[in-house]
């Protein structure tokens, strides 16, 4: 009973705070409304027995939102991000896409003839998750990680306003580098 009630409460919280992301008029509130939504989802994952996945979801998402708030304010320039502002743009098409996606996924979840459970879950789900990632799913991980890594590098290269020639001079020989803010090791 308690489990059912808390599951529904969390479900409502996750959807409501998801909606709040677009209703509130502040970058910070939108960001942390999204964090609350993810926390609710993480707790629900813990409730269905996926302790590791649930807790790691909360960890990653809160960390991500904390950094995202900084980036949103930073890329928005000086003033707008610190002032009340509308959190939506391209309203009509966004609404169409969002409702369409929701209907598609919800219809799928409700209409698919879910198969009956075969077998029993492993005793230690965290360990079996680790074994799956390091064993049979290793190929997928080996494919995904270079792609993700390349994406990060490419993103950094694109946004980086100062390259190595700015830092170390035309012949790359200037030491220490000419940085607006020097690091602790002078690299």
């Amino acid at each position: 009973m308690l489990i059912v009630v808390s599951f529904w409460v969390l479900a409502v919280v996750s959807v409501a705070s998801g909606i709040a992301v677009f209703v509130v008029d502040s970058m910070a509130r939108a960001t942390y409304a999204l964090a609350v939504s993810f926390i609710a989802v993480g707790i629900m994952l813990v409730m269905v027995g996926l302790e590791y996945i649930g807790i790691i979801t909360i960890l990653m998402m809160v960390m991500e939102m904390a950094i995202m708030a900084v980036y949103m304010v930073m890329f928005m320039g000086m003033n707008p991000a610190l002032m009340p502002m509308d959190m939506t743009h391209g309203k009509r098409w966004s609404a169409v896409l969002a409702v369409g996606t929701f209907v598609l996924l919800a219809a799928g979840a409700l209409l698919i003839p879910w198969p009956a459970r075969v077998g029993a879950p492993a005793v230690d789900l965290t360990a079996s998750l680790g074994e799956a990632i390091m064993g049979p799913k290793m190929l997928a991980m080996l494919t995904i990680s270079p792609v993700l890594f390349a994406t990060i590098i490419a993103g950094l290269v694109i946004v980086n306003p100062r390259g190595r020639y700015d830092r170390w001079g035309d012949d790359l020989k200037r030491r220490p580098p000419n940085d607006p803010m020097r690091g602790g090791l002078g690299q």
Partner: protein, 311 residues
């Protein structure tokens, strides 16, 4: 003499925040005494100072800045004590624990990431430049300490082959982890001091930015933040004990008492370090953290993993 760890009834959870607050008060008292000694006042007056400060802040009228984001501000201020309490749920007190989670180590890690959000919200909520600078300083420090902290947390778990805190304690029956993973222990201690915005890592509340996060908070909010800082410092000290210092293991005294004694000693060391180490600038520390500390943490995990696989 380590006994198997049993999960006690949730009713005992009311004692967790009480114990945590007592430790926080003791930490604040020690800090007051150290401050008093450094300026030549009697130790006792310094040790009593936190109680007087609590009374003063409880009576102080709340000041609100113009266009403050009150909701987020209050969440940030009140959240620290809550997060510290959630942290200690997985810490076994001798044979008893409140939540015998399979993934207790990850739980602790998740709660310390919550502090990122809370400190930034405190900085944001006030709608004041100094507080916001403090919030950004904390986050820039956080991206330096968090990854080394994660690997420092994982190291004992690798040695124990489990993320359950009870298993980590049990794995130290022969040899405390601090002996053969000192690098991880030092990184863990430094990170605890950092996520409490304490001592050399207290730039987010630095006097050079007029108190940073604390510039505009007053009354109960200020009390909650100051208490919360001591509380997360306490929670970190308490977690160092099952992770590196053998949990409740020790001669003569019962396990739970050893747990308290060791926590008190670690907390005292954390508090005492405050004025003995120069302030570390987050912007300069980033390079040190990523070029020296993080590889050191990785090497520590590697060494431990090799030893564990070989044994």
């Amino acid at each position: 003499m380590t006994e198997p760890i049993v999960q006690v009834s949730p009713g005992w959870a009311v004692l967790a925040p009480l114990g945590l607050l007592l430790f926080a008060l003791a930490g604040a008292g020690l800090n007051g005494a150290l401050v008093a000694r450094s300026v030549g006042r009697p130790l006792r007056s310094g040790a009593r100072a936190p109680i007087a400060e609590v009374a003063r802040l409880l009576r102080q009228r709340r000041q609100v800045t113009i266009a403050a984001d009150v909701l987020l501000w209050r969440i940030g201020a009140g959240g620290l004590v809550v997060v510290a309490t959630l942290k200690i749920l997985v810490i076994p007190l001798g044979p008893w624990t409140l939540a015998d989670l399979d993934v207790g180590v990850v739980w602790f890690n998740t709660m310390d990431v919550m502090i990122w959000a809370l400190f930034w919200l405190v900085g944001w909520g006030a709608n004041s430049a100094h507080a916001l600078v403090g919030g950004y300083r904390f986050l820039s420090l956080a991206v330096s300490y968090e990854l080394p902290l994660m690997f420092a947390l994982i190291t004992p778990a690798v040695a124990a082959r489990s993320l359950r805190v009870g298993d980590v304690v049990a794995a130290q029956q022969d040899l405390w982890f601090v002996i053969w993973m000192p690098v991880a222990f030092l990184i863990f201690c430094g990170s605890v001091i950092a996520f409490s915005s304490w001592g050399p890592f207290a730039t987010a509340v630095g006097s050079d930015i007029a108190g940073g996060l604390l510039t505009d908070v007053s009354g109960v909010d200020r009390l909650l933040i100051l208490t919360g800082r001591y509380a997360v410092l306490t929670a970190g000290a308490a977690f160092a004990v099952p992770l590196f210092l053998g949990g409740g293991a020790g001669p003569l005294l019962p396990d739970w008492l050893w747990m308290i004694v060791k926590t008190a000693l670690v907390l005292a060391a954390f508090v005492a370090i405050r004025y003995r180490v120069p302030t570390i600038r987050p912007d300069r520390f980033a390079e040190v953290a990523w070029i020296i500390v993080l590889p050191a943490a990785l090497l520590q995990v590697l060494v431990v993993a090799i030893i564990v696989m070989g044994s």
